[in-house]
Symmetry: C2
Subunit: 395 residues, 2 copies
């Protein structure tokens, strides 16, 4: 076998999301675009907001000399400063350029953070259901994933965390608004989480990192305000991305932000910058750094997403599906009417509706719907969901 | 220490290139832009060629719906097809989309290849002087670097390779045109290398990969033609980049190309695609993929680079420096007049000329000049080189 044993093993486990994405392409070819409801991948159909195109035109009208050249591995100081201003505004905490490293999306950012902090065998805790790539990212850098349960509302069980943290624990990854559930963690939850981690740090004399994957932070509904982890825990590292809030997933632009008061912040940021370089990212794409600089306060239309959520949630509940109402991101994670989520997902595929089985997120018995699609596709999908509901006697 | 022991250790070793880059920024601040000759980093001062801007304007005039979205992790089929056409044209071997994976530059591509093929403890051979990041890339994925010598003309010593390959050897990295020497390996050399590797494969019953870092392939002088590794060895993987040939280093766009007849090509390409995803690159930046599609045959002005080479080489030789004449890339690797290259580099810095000590490439006693700067900077640097030459009695 020419491929490393570990890569080979992990490839076999595969990615359900990408598998369904490819299946979707096949179905579309066979039945035609308009016949297939591909709700499998979080690849927003929305175009970037108009402000993005305005920035683009401005830049093209007056290109800066050297705008495609290397810059510091941390990214342009001007872009990092703009992110710092936005985070200061959101949190009331004073961020500076020194707290920010621009990255190739959140996926790049997470790899950079994990490589920086993990010694071989260090444990990183996640809560199911979870974005399965976390497992690959942790494994890339010699870490060991520990998966803990969430409750029925998909909120991580803190008593499980209490029991699981040991001297070998290096960090906890949370993701709110959550992929795949759309759940947003409350201020109270984040506060309790911070208290627990502080207590464990004191107990073991370790530094425990709270790594908050905030790829969906700005996609949040019902007038909710997002409770910043920075308010409740000093050893917090936020990894964010403009893939979803500016609809630029293919462009690979995001950032790492560390709490300004994190102990040994400078060493950590130095590590991030080093790892950004040696992992081969080198720097976040230059042009996108120029563009997102003035767009830190801009998002795609959240109202449009909320409308889609309302439409789909309302219809599914009416059909008898059991769904926790999402308050952010663009995912829904209903209970599968069949215990075997793969069988149910295959059933939906008979109706040209593509979703991802819950086991693709470490939680069999559920399935994930990605509703960042156009309204027509959502509407068409209802027939499939309805037929399946009837077949399995939900209604 | 919050940072992993290994990252911490590797950070201490540091990157001479980046250290001098930062030193350059300091000196410029202190003495003014025009007083400092920063010849430390390969960050081309040239803007992308006019064809790049034309493509850009065309795209902006007629933006494609969904042009910033995710695509296959391997990259757009259209872009991969364009790379395949160009490689087929250059080599006379028939490449297809299935042989190409778009990457975040050559640095990203090398990490993807190494993660795909390396089991813990596998050895990868490089030849000094070499781009020191190779050591970090190999280490990222559990490999062990073995550094072998080159001859006085900076051509790898094949007898050393003959002796060094064992059953633990997984690959050999070569880099021609070479960073830091500018040397281009001859057809004869590549042929002999291919023969040696085939013989060793037969001897050990292993698959040995020739990984050819061709970031500078198109920057080649004196009417030379580039001898493709693909002509001489079937288990060849080329990693290329548009950082230098299109002057886009900050944009992170490049590719991996595998020999169409490589055994288990499909498994390997599947591994590259998987590793591109899980290392957090996900895909090469979408917009740049659209832009380089029609620019595969385009380069910056090679004549301009050759003129710079001639100017600098002629002057240095006249001053008494001992230099192997580079035939490609935009680097020169003269012998340091002092045995201690760091002392000599510090001496040059007294004259506001910044270069990188040879030990930054695993070869003390030399220094690297990067001449991808404007003519004025090169001219100003001559004073420093002259003063140093006089002080150390070269002339």
């Amino acid at each position: 076998m020419p491929i490393s044993d570990n890569v080979s093993k992990r490839m076999m486990e595969g990615s359900w999301i990408r598998r369904m994405f490819e299946e979707g392409a096949n179905l579309r070819k066979r039945y035609g675009e308009e016949k297939v409801s591909d709700l499998s991948i979080g690849n927003p159909v929305m175009e970037p907001p108009p402000e993005f195109n305005q920035e683009f035109k401005k830049l093209m009208k007056k290109p800066m000399p050297g705008m495609h050249r290397y810059m510091e591995n941390a990214g342009y100081a001007e872009t990092r400063a703009a992110v710092a201003v936005q985070l200061s505004h959101e949190t009331g905490i004073k961020f500076t350029v020194n707290d920010i490293v621009m990255t190739c999306g959140a996926a790049g950012g997470l790899n950079v953070v994990l490589k920086t902090i993990l010694n071989p065998g260090d444990e990183v805790i996640v809560f199911a259901p979870y974005f399965m790539e976390f497992g690959n990212y942790i494994d890339n850098h010699g870490g060991v994933i520990r998966v803990l349960p969430a409750n029925e509302q998909f909120i991580p069980k803190l008593e499980a965390l209490e029991a699981a943290v040991t001297a070998k624990t290096k960090g906890v990854i949370i993701n709110s608004p959550n992929n795949p559930t759309g759940v947003v963690y409350s201020q109270d939850f984040v506060r309790q989480l911070g208290e627990l981690l502080r207590r464990k740090e004191a107990q073991y004399g370790t530094q425990l990192f709270l790594i908050s994957d905030e790829a969906y932070r700005k996609i949040i509904y019902d007038g909710l305000t997002y409770p910043p982890v920075f308010h409740h825990y000093r050893h917090s590292i936020v990894v964010a991305s403009h893939s979803k809030d500016l609809a630029l997933p293919g462009e690979r632009i995001g950032y790492i932000a560390i709490h300004p008061d994190c102990s040994q912040r400078d060493e950590l940021v130095g590590g991030f910058v080093f790892c950004n370089r040696v992992l081969g990212f080198v720097n976040a794409p230059a042009l996108m750094q120029h563009l997102v600089r003035n767009l830190q306060h801009v998002t795609v239309s959240i109202a449009d997403y909320q409308k889609k959520r309302d439409f789909l949630y309302g219809n599914l509940v009416n059909m008898g599906y059991s769904v926790v109402k999402p308050q952010g991101a663009f995912y829904m994670f209903p209970k599968s009417p069949l215990e075997d989520d793969v069988t149910f997902v295959n059933e939906l595929r008979q109706w040209n509706v593509l979703v991802v089985p819950g086991r693709g997120f470490g939680m069999p018995g559920y399935f994930r719907i990605s509703y960042c699609v156009d309204d027509r596709t959502l509407k068409v999908s209802l027939t499939g969901f309805k037929k399946a509901a009837q077949k399995f006697k939900l209604c």
